[in-house]
Structure formats: C-alpha cells, structure tokens
Amino acid sequence: MKEALKCYTEDPFDYGPVDSVLAKYKDQKGATIPILQAVQDEYGYLPYQALERIAKVLKVPFSRIFGVATFFAQFHLQPRGENIIRVCLGTACHVRGGAKIVEKLQEILQLDVGGTTADRKFTLESVACIGACGLAPVMMINNDTFGRLTTQKLAGIIENYGKETE
C-alpha cells in the first residue's frame, strides 16, 4: 500500500471530467463509490487532483475519499496501460496452473503484477475469479475473456493487442 501514497499528479490538470461527474451525483446519498468509478472511467485512474476536488465538493475530509479509494481493489491511483490484462488467480484457476500463466505473462511483458509497460500499452493485474472457472485457467484483456489457457497460447493472444514478440 505504500506505493499508493505516492499519488500521481499532473500539471496542468483538466478538472472538466471530474466536475461533470460531480454535478451528476452531487445530491445522491452514498454516492462516493459510483463517483470514484465514474471519475476513473474518465481519466483511466484516479488523479490526486480529482480526489481533492471530490472531497471539496462533497464537503468531506480528503482522508475519507482517499480511504475509500485505497480500500477497493478496483481503484487505481496511478495511470494504467491502454490494455488491462487481468489474470485470474482464483481457486479453480490456481489448481489448473494459473500461477504458470502469470509467470509466463510476466516474462513476455517484462512486468511484475501491478506494473505497466513503459509505452503504457499493457498493465498486468491479477484478480480472484472472474466467474468463468469452468474454463480455467482464465484471463481477461479489457472486456474479453480468454479461457483454457496454456503458456504456449499467451504470446499469440497478446500480439493481437499490439505487442511485438520475437
């Protein structure tokens, strides 16, 4: 979690998207999470400035917003890649060799889980079950699910998303 404390900042910052999200949700109760979800959809992650703005408009301490943003796995305080690869490490995938899939992906992309490639093309993440356990081991790239994976299949799949492999 220490990483999370170093929020990424941008200068100058475009407040347009966060303000329009806030305008939409301002009067709903319990809207913190939907607001964060919508803001993340806009920017691709949760910029520090956006969190500050949310706290200010909702009139709650920054720590509350920050606390929620760091609690849930879905929220990201760092920019992420164009393509999000989520490898399942749920039980069903684990017993069918999910760990090998992650290792191979790390090797292909030269990334640790949670990392983003320098060209911001790929982010590698792990999830615990995407509900397609019947096809284990499974991964998702953006919204596409790939099942019955083997280490041999990976390079080919990733190539389709713009990664050159030798």
């Binding site: 319990g30 913190t32 979800q37 879905q74 684990h94 397609a132 096809l135």
Partner: protein, 594 residues
C-alpha cells in the same frame, strides 16, 4: 416446416468460448439461404455445462449440440435443420463409453440434476420479460400480493429455506425479524458480491434468469414492508449488471416494479450498486457500509441488519440464490418445496464444479446428495484418469474433504460437522497432483490479502499463519510449526470480528485434520510428494522416455542438462534452478519430479 427455435448459451463461459461468433455465423448462413425468418435465434443464460461450450439447442425437439464453431453452421443447417439428419460429430460424447447422444437429459451431467432454481437458465431469453412470464414468471408475485404479509412469511418459514449465501440462516426467520422491527423505512438488499474465487452460481442466475431474483426481492419487500431494494453486484460481472438493468426496466414497464404495483398500492423500487472489488464486502455489514459509500469494513453484530441496517434502517439481506428460490416457494407451496432435501436442509443447492474434474460447470442437486454422486456421476470423475484426492467446499472460508468422506450426504449441518461449510457452493476438485499444504497456503494468501485490517486477530493472525505455511512449503518448516498453527488457528477463529477472520483458519484446520501427514512430510522429510513445492522437489529425466532430442538442453538457462544426441539425457541437480522450462518443452513427458 414449423417455426423452430435455436438457443445459444450466452453465459460468460460460452461467450468466451466463442458463442457469439457461432451465432453470427448461423444467422448469416440462414440469411444466405433466405430462410432466416423461419427460425428464432435466441441467446439464453448459462446452461451449466461450460466445459462443452459453446452450446446450442434446437427446439422443439430439444437436440443438444456442443462445441459448436462458426464453420460448423453451414453443415448444421443443410444436414440437420433442413434435412433432419443429426450431425453426429457435434453431439455430446460420453468420455467413458464414447457414445454420442442428442438428448441432454441422457447425459450424466444433467440426468442427476434437479433444476428447480435453474429451470429457466439456458431455456429463456433473459433479456425478454415475456419469456419469463411465459414460464409462470411473476405469478408468485400476483399470488403474494393477495396474501397477508404474515402468511407469506409463514410460508417461507414452513418451506425450511435457509440462506444460500453461506451460513444457512433460516430465511423466514430473518424476514420475520425485519418485519417485526418497527420503522417507517425498510430496505431489501440482495447480496450478489459472490467473492468466493471458484464460485459462479450467482453470476449465472443473474445472467440467465434475472427476473426470478427481482421477483423474490419484490415479494420480500411486500412481506416485510420495504419500499426500496438494492442489488450489490461485483463489478467483475458486467454481463450480469447489464441483464439486471434490462430486467428492471422491463419489470417497471410491465408494472411489476415501481409505484402502485399491479394496482395494489404497493410501491417498490430496485437500485443496482456495483461493488469495487473487496472480498470482505460480501460480509453483510461491510456490504452495507459499501453501499453507504464508505470503506467496506464490517462492524460488530448485534445489532443485526434486521434491526439496524442500511442507513440505520431495518434491512433484510439475502443472497441471490435465496431470492431466486422465493417465487418457487410461493408458486408451488411450501410443502412441495420442503419435499426435496434433507431433514434440516430443504430444497436444492447449486454447486459450481471446477478444478480437476471432467465436467466443469453448474449443477443443481437436491440437498443430501452425496459428494460421490456429484463428483463422479454429474462431474464425470477426475480428469486425465487421475486419482481423486480432495474437494474444497465453501471457498476460502470452507474446508477440504478427503476421499473417505465421499459418501457424505451434503447439507449445511453435515458439512459443518466435517469441518467444511456450504459457503457459496463452490466445489473445487483436486487430484493426486495437488499439494494440500500449498493449497492451504493459497487460501491464506487470499484471506490475508483480503483482511480489511480492522481487527487484530485477523489482520496479524492471518499473516503469521501465512508465514508459517510459506516456511513449510519452502522446506524451512520446523517441528513446532504444526502445534503453533493449530493454536493460532483456533484463537483467530474465536476472536475475529467478522466471518472472514472466523473462517479464515478453516482451510488450515481441515487440511491438518485430514492431511496431516503431508505437513509432516514437508517438515520432517523435506518432501512434497505431489511435486508442487518447488524447493522440495528435484527434476529428473526418465531414461526410458527420453529420446535425446536435445530440446531441453536448448531451453535450460543454466546448462544443467547433459547428454549426447539420441541418448537419454541427465539433469545435474546441483546446477538445476527448477525453473521447469525443460518439463514444459519436453514432448515425451520424460522430465519428472521426485
């Protein structure tokens, strides 16, 4: 020719196997032949048999095809649809007898199931409310609205329905508590967080029959006097969210939801909240905190949500499958419902069969069926002819059961007694190649990661247990580790704030109970006979199988493999770093672990 209906399973499993591409191919082939209007092509929810996907069923004759690819569609139309000649190669093939059948009720996977809750899944188009109504949908709501509120609650109580979300609390009693708590505003909440990694029954019900869940919630709302409900769905389930939204809009249009429902003056609205990825949010108080927009941390109970729930109001919170059972109970009657199941566990339960099993998928069976019937008759036994070792039931909160308990009839109480629990109903089957210590380590990694950190026993305790398990799997275990683990596990169980911590030790306790020798073997002999724990195994080459093709010598990063061309090779275990590259490369399975 009469009007025919072609159903494609469009659950998440079949979609990722390519169901939509096959559907598109079928439609375009039909169009090419100018016969598109004679066929109704429907996308249904999950049919359960994810293993064989994509699945296709032709009605009215109910012919079942599996593994259907776009390039098969032309043949399917010309041979089967137009000329009635069944396409043999696309029929289900029994892995044991090799026989093919077009009648899915003859397939072991379906034959032993009792699909009551799932009766619409894979049969109707979940995005069309008329199809739900066509299979007696919303009849239960109509009946309920004519009943006394207490009579509905009594009916649910009499049915013996127990919560399908984990603990198995009697649903009727929960409703009664919420009903009796005074309050001008009450809430119904549906728990669709489904955090157990390895379970997907709630997802399939929401994707395949969303109206059944809504109908259950509306009836609950009427019975306890609530006018608003929330469905809390995992954000990882985009298709379920989409189908729920469509279902809510349609139910509103038809007057089953909204204000003055069916002219009775009863108002009820349903909101969707998307979760944001935290296992602990499946716990009811954490879930409510998350709906309120806070960090999803549990709080001590009592007060229970029935007394003080969402925004402090009386709240009735049930699982997806629990709600999906309600229309059935009201429509068919409590007695009919209670005629299925065991003495203290009534009705059916949906299990997600996964792991090293032949038929992965969803199976709904009467309570009290034995593990053996589920795994071997429905699940088709263990993959690749391997030996059954254990089954993990109930996810990270549950426990594993060994082969000796295969004949245990499954219900809430028998499982708890055996040291596991029903949990969500995830069944992960393991074979001889699974190391039970590694499995316990896997679950602890999960729970330790997901511990919210509010209470010390869970936050610190899961970490200490995980460290011990890591030590043992790395071959650095000490003889005091087993008693230490047992002591820690029991005190964490007793002293944690919420169910997460209270059940986190279960995988350790149950593996210690049934597979203690594996722990001892790791610690005392430095051996992992399943060949999983990397530090405890060594790589060898089977001289009989090795053809001397040299493939392995080329991939070995440390040049540990020697041998002449066409002669059996050898691995120098002093040099070997156990990366496994040779094993993966070898085409002859000559690399073995010892």
């Amino acid at each position: 020719m009469s009007h025919r209906r072609i159903l494609f399973c469009a659950g998440t499993g079949c979609i990722s196997s390519g169901a939509l591409k096959t559907r598109d191919a079928l439609v375009s082939e039909l169009e090419k032949r100018g016969i598109r209007d004679q066929y109704e092509v429907v996308l249904s929810g999950c049919h359960g048999f994810c293993e064989q996907g994509p699945l296709l069923i032709v009605h009215p004759e109910d012919t079942f095809y599996c593994g259907v690819q776009p390039e098969d569609m032309a043949e399917l139309i010309d041979e089967y649809l137009l000329n009635g000649r069944v396409v043999e190669r696309l029929l289900y093939k029994d892995p044991v007898t090799g026989e093919r059948t077009s009648d899915h009720m003859k397939i072991g996977f379906y034959a032993k199931q009792k699909r009551l809750v799932l009766h619409n899944c894979g049969v109707i188009d979940p995005e069309n409310i008329n199809e739900y109504i066509g299979t007696k949908g919303y009849e239960a709501l109509k009946a309920a609205l004519k009943m006394e509120r207490t009579a509905i609650i009594d009916e649910v109580k009499r049915s013996g329905l127990r919560g399908r979300g984990g603990a198995g609390f009697p649903t009727g009693m929960k409703w009664e508590f919420t009903f009796k708590t005074p309050g001008d505003k009450k809430y119904i909440v549906c728990n669709a967080d489904e955090g157990d990694p390895g379970a997907f029954m709630d997802r399939s019900v929401l994707e395949g029959d969303p109206h059944a869940v809504l109908e259950g919630m509306i009836i609950a709302g009427y019975a306890i006097g609530a006018d608003e409900g929330y469905v809390y769905v995992r954000a990882e389930y985009p298709l379920a969210v989409k189908r729920l939204r469509i279902a809510i809009t349609q139910a509103e249009e038809f007057g089953f939801l909204g204000s003055n429902i069916m002219g009775t003056g009863f108002n009820f609205k349903i909101n969707i909240k998307e979760g944001a990825g935290a296992f602990v949010c499946g716990e009811e108080t954490a879930l409510l905190a998350s709906i309120e927009g806070e960090r999803g941390m549990p709080r001590p109970r009592p007060p229970f949500p029935a007394i003080s729930g969402l925004w402090g109001k009386p709240t009735c919170l049930n699982n997806v499958e629990t709600f999906a059972n309600i229309p059935l109970i009201i429509r068919e009657g409590a007695d009919s419902f209670a005629s299925v199941g065991t003495e203290r566990s009534k009705g059916t339960k949906i299990f997600a069969l996964t792991g090293k099993i032949n038929n992965t998928g969803l199976a709904e069976v009467p309570m009290g069926m034995t593990m053996r019937e589920i795994i071997f008759d429905i699940g088709g036994g263990i993959r690749d002819g391997k030996q059954f070792k254990a089954v993990q039931i109930g996810g990270p909160s549950g426990g594993c059961l060994p082969a000796e308990l295969l004949d245990l009839p499954i219900d809430y109480d028998s499982l708890t007694q055996a040291g596991a629990m029903m949990g969500s109903g995830g069944l992960v089957v393991m074979d001889e190649n699974t190391c039970m210590v590694d499995l316990a380590r896997y679950f602890l990694t999960f729970t330790q990661n997901e511990s919210c950190g509010k209470c010390t026993p869970c936050r610190e305790g899961t970490k200490r247990m995980l460290e011990a398990l890591e030590r043992i799997t790395e071959g650095k275990g000490e003889s005091g580790d087993i008693p230490m683990l047992e002591e820690l596990a029991n005190s964490i169980k007793d002293s944690s704030l919420c169910g997460l911590g209270q059940t986190a030790p279960n995988p350790i306790l149950s593996t210690l109970r049934y597979f203690r020798h594996e722990y001892e073997e790791h610690i005392l002999e430095g051996k992992c006979s399943a060949g999983v724990c990397r530090n405890l195994v060594t790589y060898h080459i089977d001289a009989e199988k090795c053809t001397g093709c040299r493939a392995c010598t080329r991939v070995c990063p440390v040049e540990a493999i020697t041998g002449d061309k066409k002669q059996p090779h050898e691995i120098n275990i002093q040099v070997c770093i156990k990366c496994g590259a040779c094993m993966e490369k070898c085409k002859f399975d000559a690399v073995i672990l010892k």
